[in-house]
């Protein structure tokens, strides 16, 4: 069993095709394909990417797609969820960004995006764009350790795959010591020692943001190993692999 996990196509169809091609080339076949949100963005052809995700070709895996930050901005623009008029998008990309996103995704596509899940629980993993706290939750290796620990506990997972930061990393957290003592009106309870086995947060990189270079991750549940892949596409082709 091997999963391909990616995030942040951001409308870049060429980058997504390059990743699909790389997936086909794997010696061990990929058995599931997860797309952790941000399939749309400002730079590429959003409609083309959405149509590609919806129209699987012969022999291809059906992509399991969840929502990301860009999809949520789209819903906000259409008044479907959250605050109206996409204030987050407006603050980051101004009125030009708002206009472009509005014009680059059809109403029908917005409804398809709305049908996507918030994340996926598979085996002992959670696959999600940000975290269970929010789609905008950006986890990186520099996020405070206790916050990473909290996100893993909330996720109720041994590995949390996320895509919000666009970074590729694996971060093992071992919360190994804590003594909790509770006193109520009636008694002081015996102290409880908390200690947990190591758990992991993995950033799966970004497919479409950097032109010519797409990143994604391969995960083997059997061995619990993650392989970070960088696919170069366009004029010069090169393939880089790092296993973690």
């Amino acid at each position: 069993m091997q999963w391909a996990i990616l995030s942040g196509i951001e409308g870049n169809l060429a980058a997504y095709e390059a990743v699909l091609q790389d997936i086909r080339r794997q010696h061990s076949s990929v058995t599931a394909l997860y797309v952790l949100g941000d399939v749309i963005g400002l730079k590429g052809d959003n409609e083309a990417v959405i149509q590609r995700l919806r129209s699987r070709r012969n022999g291809e895996l059906e992509p399991q797609v969840c929502r990301g930050w860009w999809e949520e901005q789209c819903f906000s623009l259409y008044g479907l969820t959250g605050l109206p008029k996409a204030p987050e998008l407006m603050a980051q990309f101004g009125s030009d960004g708002v206009k472009h996103l509005w014009e680059s995704v059809s109403r029908e596509s917005v409804h398809w995006l709305r049908s996507l899940h918030f994340g996926f629980h598979e085996l002992d993993c959670l696959l999600i764009h940000g975290s269970t706290v929010s789609y905008r939750d950006e986890l990186t290796p520099d996020t405070p350790a206790i916050q990473l620990c909290d996100r893993l506990i909330r996720a109720d997972a041994n590995t949390l795959f996320c895509g919000r930061s666009g970074l590729a990393f694996a971060c093992w957290i071992t919360p190994y010591q804590l003594r909790s003592t509770v006193t109520t009106l009636d008694a002081t309870q015996s102290p409880i020692e908390y200690g947990k086995t190591p758990r992991r947060i993995a950033g799966v990189g970004n497919v479409g943001r950097t032109s010519g270079k797409a990143g994604y991750a391969l995960y083997r549940p059997g061995t619990n190993s993650i392989q970070f892949k960088t696919v170069t596409y366009g004029a010069v082709r090169d393939f880089a692999v790092t296993e973690r």
């Binding site: 269970t132 706290v133 929010s134 290796p141 405070p144 350790a145 206790i146 916050q147 990473l148 620990c149 909290d150 506990i153 909330r154 590729a168 990393f169 694996a170 971060c171 093992w172 957290i173 071992t174 919360p175 190994y176 010591q177 804590l178 003594r179 909790s180 003592t181 509770v182 006193t183 109520t184 009106l185 409880i192 908390y194 947990k196 190591p198 990189g205 970070f228 960088t230 880089a240 790092t242 973690r244």
Partner: protein, 270 residues
């Protein structure tokens, strides 16, 4: 400096008066209130007027927020469906009863208050609706305190007082980057503390007495105070005002009378 910290008065003027008298007797230097001035109880306007007249620093509770914003929280606002149904009835009554200036005051309340290494919130630093129960995972509880950058986090919302000491917290982090770089570091914390101050006006610890907390900032000593008062008078007023009878019943017993929510730490997606 001796602090008195109270929460969840819920329109119970009798209980508030009794607690204020006890605070006087204990010679506290400063009072803080962690919100939920209104809701459930029969005297929301009188309670707010009292808090304002004494100039007590107060943060906004979930009930205060709901009265201002309207009932738009998801199911996490209540520990059960039964509680939610009763809560809606109380919300409608309170919404009709409160004066415009009271609503304005509730709207002006901050989410958090700070004093040196102390932080004051209603539910949790994340939301007025999150329950910091004493059974919450220790590391999750520690994260809530650390997120405030305080040493002591005062909260209410559960209506059951407790002190939770979180000692010797230690985490190990190992980061692996695709370029092969690995780094490892350890993170440890000194003693952190959550102090839930219980409820003045709608206690749920199994007795009808009002609860609040005294905290000495010099010695870090905590005293959970339990104050008896004429709760039957409040019960009679609840019935006289036409509020659901069950509110009087449970006030007289100090019980919630509802099953617990599946996930009380769930973050409201309002």
């Amino acid at each position: 400096m001796k602090l008195a910290v109270m929460s969840c008065i819920h329109g119970n003027y009798e209980a508030l008066n009794a607690v204020l008298s006890d605070i006087d007797a204990q010679k506290a230097d400063q009072i803080y209130c962690l919100g939920d001035l209104v809701g459930y109880g029969p005297h929301p306007n009188a309670v707010v007027e009292m808090i304002r007249s004494l100039d007590i620093p107060t943060c906004q509770g979930c009930w205060d927020e709901d009265i201002v914003e309207g009932l738009n929280a998801c199911e996490c606002s209540y520990p059960s469906q039964l509680a939610e149904k009763r809560g809606h009835l109380a919300h409608e009554w309170t919404n009709r009863a409160i004066h415009p200036e009271v609503r304005e005051y509730l709207a002006s309340l901050p989410m958090t208050l700070r004093q040196d290494n102390l932080c004051f919130v209603h539910g949790s630093p994340n939301s007025q609706h999150e329950y910091l129960l004493p059974s919450m995972d220790g590391f999750t509880a520690l994260e809530r305190v650390l997120s405030t950058e305080a040493d002591v986090l005062f909260c209410g919302h559960t209506h059951v007082p407790y002190v939770r000491d979180l000692a010797n917290g230690c985490l190990q982090v190992r980061v692996l980057h695709p370029d092969g770089v690995e780094r490892e570091h350890q993170f440890s914390t000194p003693l952190k503390r959550i102090i839930n101050v219980g409820s003045v006006g709608e206690p749920r610890h199994g007795r009808p007495n009002a609860t609040y907390v005294l905290y000495d900032t010099d010695t870090a000593q905590v005293v959970l105070r339990e104050v008896s008062y004429d709760y039957e008078r409040t019960c009679a007023d609840i019935i006289a005002k036409g509020l659901p009878l069950i509110f009087a019943w449970r006030l007289a017993r100090g019980l919630e009378f509802a099953e617990r929510a599946d996930d009380p730490s769930h973050i409201c997606q309002r």
